[in-house]
C-alpha cells in the first residue's frame, strides 16, 4: 500500500509539475466547459448555440445588444437614417482588422449581411425589405430599403442564432449552405484550428490586434477587453465528472451545470453559482395542426387548459428559485411580454379539458407523442404530457427515440398512420422568443411557411407583418399585446413554463457578463 501510495504520488507530482510548466508558458488560461461540443465552426451555416458562442469568440458584429436589450453600435462607429427611413448609412470604426492582418472593409460587411440574409429568419425578412446595399468607400456603406422597416437595427444587432457575424468577403461569398473552412474573423479571439479536437477541446488565443470599444462591456455590446491569453473549451459530457473537475480546479467555469448537481455544488465554498441569462428559457409543447385531433383549435385549447406549468417545471428543473410560471408567449420579463388572455389556460384544469374533448368527439383518440430519451429535460416534459393527455381522455402512444430521429420525423407532414406525429416538446431561449418576428413558434404561416406543426393563422401573420413594419415602440407594444391574445386563441404551442439556467465558476473568477449568451472576454482568472 505504501509502495502504491508513493508510486501514485510520484506520478501525480510529475503530472502537476508538467501542468505547471505548461501553464507557465501559456500564462493565463481560462478553461471552460461549454454546454455542447463544437461540431462545426461556421455560425451562419448552422443555428447551433455552441457555434453561435464560437462565433462571438472569433467574429465581431456591426451592432450588439447590451444587458438591457438595447441595440448598440459595435463595429460601427456611426450610423444615420434618411428622413424617409429608407436609406441607412453605416461607418466602421478605425483599426478593425481581420486575424490575417488585412483591414475590415465595407465590401466584407455587405457580403456578410447577404450571406446571413440567406440563412437567418430575421435576415431573410430584412433582405425582403432591402432594395440594395452599396459601398460608399472602404469604411462606409449604405443599406437602401424598399419601404420603411422597423427592425433594421434589431436584426443587425440580433444576439442569438443566426447572429449576423462579419466575415471576410472571400469567406462570406461561400455558398450559404456550404461551410466556411477558413475561420478568420475580426473578433477578440483567434481560433486555433490545429488544436481543435472535435468532441474534446477547442482553443482560442487572444487577438492582440483587437481594438475594443471604449464603453464598458455590457451584454454583447461595449468593450470586448480580453483579460486572459488563452481560452480552452474542454467538452466533458458527463455532469458528475464536470462537477468534480470544477471542484478540483481543473476547469474554471461550467456553462450549464446540470440541475441534479446544483445542491452538491452549493455546498462547496469554492464554487459560485449564478444565473447570467436574465431572459431564461421557455418550454414548448408543440401539436401537429394538420391532423386530428389537434387540427381543431378547441382541442388544442383543451390541452392548454389541462397543462399545469408547475408540474412540468418541478419535473425538469426542480429548484423553484430557477423557474417561474409565466403565461406570456413573448417570455416574461421582456418589453413585449404580457400574460393577458391566459386566464383560462395553464391552470391544470383537467375537468374543463375533458368536457371540451367530449363536446368535440375526440375522447379516446389516439395521439402519437415523440419522446426524445437522450435529452433528459425533454424526456421528462414528455412524460408529464403523456400523463396529462391520458388524464383528459386521449389514448397516448409514446414513441421513444433519440433527438436526431425526432428532428427528422417532426419534419414529416404525413398523417400519423403513415409516419407522422401528433406531439413533441422543445424549448427556446428568451433571446429568441422575446421578439414576435424571431419567435418561430407563433408563426401562423401554415404548411408552407410555419415551423414544424404548421399552424395556420392569417391574423397572426398580419400582426407579425405589422410589427415588422412599425418603427414606433409604443405601437410595437400594442401589436405584441394583440399577438399574445391571438396566440391563446389559436394555441400555436403550449408554453409549459419558464426557467433559468445557472452557470457555475470557481470562486475568485471575476467579470462574468450578464447576458443570454456566455461571453469570455472581460473575465479575469483568480489571483
Amino acid at each position: 500500500m505504501r509502495l502504491l501510495s508513493t508510486l501514485a504520488k510520484g506520478i501525480g507530482i510529475a503530472a502537476v509539475a508538467a501542468a505547471m510548466l505548461g501553464s507557465a508558458s501559456a500564462e493565463k488560461v481560462l478553461r471552460i466547459v461549454p454546454h455542447a461540443d463544437l461540431k462545426n465552426v461556421d455560425p451562419i451555416w448552422t443555428t447551433a448555440y455552441i457555434t453561435r458562442n464560437h462565433g462571438y469568440m472569433v467574429y465581431d458584429t456591426l451592432f450588439a445588444k447590451d444587458k438591457e436589450g438595447n441595440v448598440q453600435p459595435q463595429m460601427v462607429r456611426e450610423y444615420s437614417t434618411s428622413e424617409d427611413g429608407l436609406t441607412w448609412t453605416f461607418t466602421l470604426r478605425d483599426g478593425l482588422k481581420w486575424h490575417d492582418g488585412t483591414p475590415v472593409t465595407s465590401a466584407d460587411c455587405i457580403a456578410s449581411i447577404q450571406r446571413w440574409g440567406k440563412r437567418d429568419g430575421s435576415g431573410q425578412k430584412l433582405m425582403d425589405f432591402t432594395a440594395s446595399m452599396e459601398a460608399v468607400n472602404d469604411k462606409t456603406f449604405k443599406l437602401i430599403l424598399k419601404e420603411p422597416y422597423g427592425l433594421v437595427l434589431d436584426s443587425l444587432g440580433k444576439i442569438s442564432s443566426n447572429v449576423p457575424f462579419m466575415m471576410r468577403k472571400k469567406d462570406a461569398e461561400t455558398d450559404a449552405f456550404t461551410q466556411v473552412t477558413d475561420i478568420v474573423g475580426s473578433g477578440p479571439f483567434k481560433f486555433v484550428a490545429d488544436e481543435w479536437v472535435p468532441g474534446s477541446k477547442v482553443v482560442y488565443v487572444k487577438n492582440e490586434d483587437y481594438v475594443p470599444r471604449d464603453e464598458p462591456a455590457s451584454g454583447a455590446a461595449g468593450g470586448k477587453v480580453v483579460k486572459v491569453d488563452r481560452v480552452e473549451w474542454v467538452y466533458i459530457p458527463d455532469p458528475a465528472t464536470t462537477m468534480n473537475a470544477l471542484a478540483n480546479g481543473e476547469v474554471d467555469l461550467w456553462e450549464t451545470p446540470s440541475p441534479d448537481m446544483l445542491p452538491l455544488m452549493r455546498e462547496n465554498p469554492n464554487i459560485v453559482i449564478d444565473v447570467i441569462d436574465p431572459l431564461g428559457t421557455q418550454g414548448w409543447l408543440r401539436m401537429n395542426h394538420l391532423y386530428p385531433p389537434f387540427d381543431n383549435p378547441r382541442v388544442r385549447q383543451a390541452v392548454d387548459m389541462a397543462v399545469n406549468q408547475e408540474t412540468y417545471l418541478q419535473a425538469i428543473v426542480g429548484d423553484p428559485s430557477l423557474y417561474k410560471t409565466c403565461k406570456a408567449y413573448l417570455i416574461c420579463g421582456t418589453q413585449f411580454a404580457s400574460e393577458d388572455g391566459g386566464e383560462p389556460y395553464l391552470n391544470g384544469d383537467i375537468a374543463g379539458a375533458k368536457k371540451i374533448l367530449e363536446e368535440e368527439g375526440v375522447m379516446g383518440h389516439k395521439v402519437v407523442l415523440m419522446q426524445p430519451t437522450d435529452i433528459p429535460l425533454l424526456n421528462n416534459a414528455s412524460l408529464v404530457t403523456a400523463q396529462v393527455l391520458r388524464d383528459i381522455g386521449f389514448d397516448v402512444d409514446m414513441q421513444a427515440m433519440d433527438w436526431s430521429t425526432l428532428t427528422s420525423r417532426r419534419a414529416e407532414k404525413k398523417p400519423v398512420a403513415e409516419g407522422g406525429w401528433n406531439v413533441f416538446h422543445t424549448y427556446s431561449t428568451g433571446a429568441d422568443v422575446q421578439s414576435p418576428i424571431r419567435n418561430i413558434g407563433i408563426s401562423g404561416g401554415g404548411v408552407e411557411r410555419a415551423w414544424f406543426g404548421w399552424p395556420t393563422d392569417a391574423k397572426m401573420e398580419q400582426l407579425r407583418d405589422d410589427f415588422a413594419r412599425s418603427t414606433d415602440l409604443a405601437q410595437q407594444k400594442e401589436i405584441a399585446h394583440a399577438i399574445q391574445l391571438e396566440a391563446f386563441k389559436n394555441t400555436p404551442y403550449v408554453n409549459y413554463g419558464q426557467w433559468y439556467q445557472p452557470m457555475a465558476w470557481r470562486k475568485g473568477l471575476k467579470g462574468v457578463l450578464v447576458s443570454p449568451v456566455p461571453f469570455f472576454w472581460n473575465i479575469e482568472l483568480p489571483q
Partner: protein, 313 residues
C-alpha cells in the same frame, strides 16, 4: 504457418466487406437525417433539400455505397458531415487514447488476474479462494461508472493524487500520461480482472486434477514449479482465449470509461456520430473496430502454437 497467416489476413477482406455493407445499410435505413440537423429550426424544406443534395444524401443508396466503398479502397474514409474534417484525421486524434486505455487495462488485468486465479485454484475451497471469488463477483456486478466515480472521489478529490478527467498523450511525458490513465485503467480493468481470474481459476483447477500433475507431485516437484511450469502453461490456452475476447470487448467497451473520465477516444467519437447521424465517421470507426477485432483474433490463434506445440496450422 506463414501460409496460414496469409490465409487468415486474406480472409479478413470478405469479413470487412460484409461488415461494411451491413453497417452502411443499417445506418441509412435508420431514421434520422443529418441535413435536418444541419439546417436548423428556421430552415425551409427547400433549404433541407439543398443540403441533402450537397451532401449527396439524395442519391440512390447503391450509388452512395459504391462511392463510399471506392473512396475507402483508395484510403479515403471521407469527410465528417458536421465538422467538415477528414474522418481519418478525427480517428487519428482519437486512436491513441483508446488504444492506450485498452492496452493499459489489458496489462493491468493480466498482471493482477492471472496470479489471483492461480492462487484461488491452488487454495481452492479455502477462505483465500472465497475472497478472490467474492472480489471477482464484485468486479462483474458493480458497473464501471460506479467504480469510476468512487475512484475519482477517493484518489482525486480526497487524496489529490490523480486528475479527475482528461487525457495526456505519451508525448506529454510518461508522468502525465500515467497520471491521466491510472484511474480509467483501474475502473475499466476490474471487470476484466474478474473475468480472467475466474477463467484462470477454473482452467488451472481442471489441469490440477490431471494424472501428470499427480505424477509430478509424487516425484516431489516443488509447488511453484508445479504451478507455473506444469499447471499454468497447460491451462493457458483457454486463458489466452478469454484475454483475446476481453481485448476485443475492451475496444468497444471503453465508451462508458471514456465518458466518465472525459477521455477523447474512439468510443465517444462513435456515440457522438451516431447521435448526429454523421455517417462517414460511424462507417470509418466501425471499419477500424472490425479490423482490430480480426487482428486480435488472429494474434490469439497464433499464440496457441507457442503455448501448445501440439497445435499446428
Amino acid at each position: 504457418m506463414y501460409a496460414y497467416i496469409i490465409r487468415r489476413i486474406l480472409a479478413t477482406i470478405p469479413v470487412m466487406a460484409v461488415v461494411a455493407v451491413f453497417v452502411f445499410l443499417l445506418l441509412y435505413l435508420t431514421p434520422g437525417d443529418p441535413a435536418v440537423v444541419i439546417a436548423g429550426d428556421y430552415a425551409r424544406p427547400e433549404d433541407i433539400e439543398r443540403i441533402r443534395e450537397q451532401l449527396g444524401l439524395n442519391r440512390p443508396l447503391y450509388v452512395q455505397f459504391f462511392t463510399w466503398a471506392g473512396n475507402v479502397l483508395s484510403g479515403d474514409l471521407g469527410i465528417s458531415i458536421f465538422s467538415n474534417l477528414p474522418v481519418s484525421k478525427l480517428i487519428g486524434q482519437r486512436l491513441e487514447p483508446t488504444l492506450a486505455l485498452a492496452i493499459c487495462t489489458t496489462i493491468f488485468a493480466i498482471v493482477v488476474a492471472v496470479p489471483l486465479g492461480v492462487l484461488a485454484a491452488w487454495k481452492a475451497h479455502t477462505w483465500v479462494d472465497r475472497v478472490v471469488m467474492i472480489f471477482a463477483v464484485l468486479g462483474f456486478s458493480v458497473p464501471v461508472f460506479v467504480i469510476g466515480y468512487v475512484l475519482m472521489w477517493a484518489f482525486s478529490l480526497s487524496l489529490g493524487w490523480f486528475p479527475v478527467q482528461g487525457y495526456k498523450p505519451l508525448s506529454a511525458g510518461i508522468g502525465p500520461f500515467l497520471s491521466s490513465i491510472a484511474l480509467p485503467t483501474l475502473a475499466l480493468g476490474l471487470v476484466y480482472v474478474a473475468l480472467i481470474a475466474r477463467m484462470t481459476r477454473a482452467s488451472v483447477m481442471e489441469v490440477l486434477t490431471e494424472d501428470y500433475i499427480r505424477t509430478a507431485r509424487a516425484k516431489g516437484v516443488a509447488n511453484r514449479t508445479l504451478l507455473m511450469r506444469h499447471a499454468l502453461k497447460n491451462a493457458s490456452v483457454p486463458i489466452v482465449t478469454i484475454i483475446g475476447v476481453g481485448v476485443a470487448l475492451l475496444i468497444g467497451g471503453v465508451v462508458v470509461t471514456e465518458s466518465v473520465f472525459n477521455i477523447p477516444g474512439l468510443g465517444r467519437l462513435t456515440i457522438d456520430a451516431v447521435l448526429r447521424r454523421d455517417y462517414p465517421i460511424i462507417q470509418g470507426v466501425i471499419l477500424i473496430f472490425s479490423g482490430i477485432y480480426v487482428l486480435v483474433n488472429l494474434l490469439i490463434d497464433l499464440s496457441y502454437t507457442v503455448l501448445d506445440p501440439r497445435i499446428r496450422y
